[in-house]
């Protein structure tokens, strides 16, 4: 479900926790460097993204289930992680400020 202005996206909780920070929306067009502490927003699992996860503050995954490889890695590292957040890579702009409330299964897009 997407709400306008301060958008709230919903998904499935993989690893609980709350984290607030800058979104890094991964994709072929994004070549800016990943900053330590960024929230990684990805379309699907890929070892390239898993490597970024080691420096990430949280993970928001658009597709993939509980056992998606990247979600397992997020669980090991212990960062808040949500999956099946529909349209996350479209609804969240690269560099925008977002809040991952994994305990509630919500991502708040502040701007």
């Amino acid at each position: 479900m997407i709400v306008d202005n301060n958008k709230t996206l919903q998904g499935i909780v993989i690893n609980p926790g709350v984290y607030k920070g800058k979104a890094y929306v991964a994709g072929p067009d994004n070549d800016r460097p990943f900053d330590k502490g960024d929230i990684l927003v990805i379309p699907h699992s890929n070892p390239k993204y898993s490597l970024m996860l080691l420096d990430a503050g949280a993970l928001v995954c658009e597709s993939g289930a509980v056992m998606a490889h990247i979600c397992i890695v997020a669980g090991e590292i212990g960062i808040p992680c949500m999956t099946q957040v529909n349209d996350a890579t479209k609804a969240i702009k690269d560099g925008s400020y977002i809040e991952v409330h994994a305990d509630q299964g919500e991502v708040l897009v502040v701007g």
């Binding site: 690893n15 609980p16 699992s45 070892p47 390239k48 490597l51 289930a65 669980g75 590292i77």
Partner: protein
Amino acid sequence: MLDNEELLKGYRESLKVAWGYNDYEDWPLRISSIMHLFTDVFAKEFIEDLNAIWDEENGPQQLAQIFEYPGRLFRLIDVVIFGLRRARTPLEEQRQFVVRMLRAAHTLKAGDLFNKNGANLLIHPDIPPKSSRKQGDSNLIHKLQAALFMYTEAILFRGHDAVKTVHGPYITADNTAIVIREFHNLSPTELWPSSLLINHKKITTVCEYMTSAEVKVDCYDHIYHSGKLNQSLLSWHVTIDGESVDTEQISAFVDALIAKTRQVSGIVDEWTWQQKTEKYADIFWFRKSPLRELRGLSSKVPDHVYETIRNGKPSEIRSKCLSPREVAFLIQLGV
């Protein structure tokens, strides 16, 4: 021991969970879209080898010895079944195969075959004594496990059951939970040049968690947890090729794993779908190589399989995600 019907029923149930929770956006390409190019040959060889070594008395033990871990046996079943179905193998033969694999897995386990209680308990787990386990450095230990997971995915794609197993939780007298992650065959030079691989064969991590982490392991070696693993770690023990290692060695090793993962995944990302599929075939044959080699036969992919891949194309129908209903239908068809 469960009878054949109970085994098949338990297997169907376990598949529903595993397939329902798994990822369909596979890296480096969706495996279901290319399996038709080699799994019928793969399954035919597997069944031939299995039948050649099987005798009703010692078959389960022998097969278990070859593959060592129950999760490895479980994970081979559905890919062989996929190939058998493509070859229109009679349902009774498919069922016989599933039952044999499950009976072999059963001989390795101390607990429920399908881990219905959330524990993957092996008969003789090697749990280091409390005195040899270390405390602290939870982030580093979990980073190591994450890096190992990434590395095994990079070198074996979705076939990493051949190099990875998770078992436990073993509940201790202190009411804590021990989970063991074993990463073996870590340097498969049959698949990659040695320059792309780490120099070690086996790494084992033993982690003692608070029970509040609520760790569970299913029969496919998937680990689930409701609590945070890195905040629940009480003690740990890590060995590389059988030797205990300290945090400095672990840190250096994590860096090496990350570098290798970056290198291999970067190479694979540049490949065409045919190259990725050929490597997938190599990985599948590597997965079953212990069985083939026991018979003194070559464990290499037959040349005609590569030709089929080069002349074939990915299945568009199988490139899409399956709905839960379609998954349930496929499971019924299979076994």
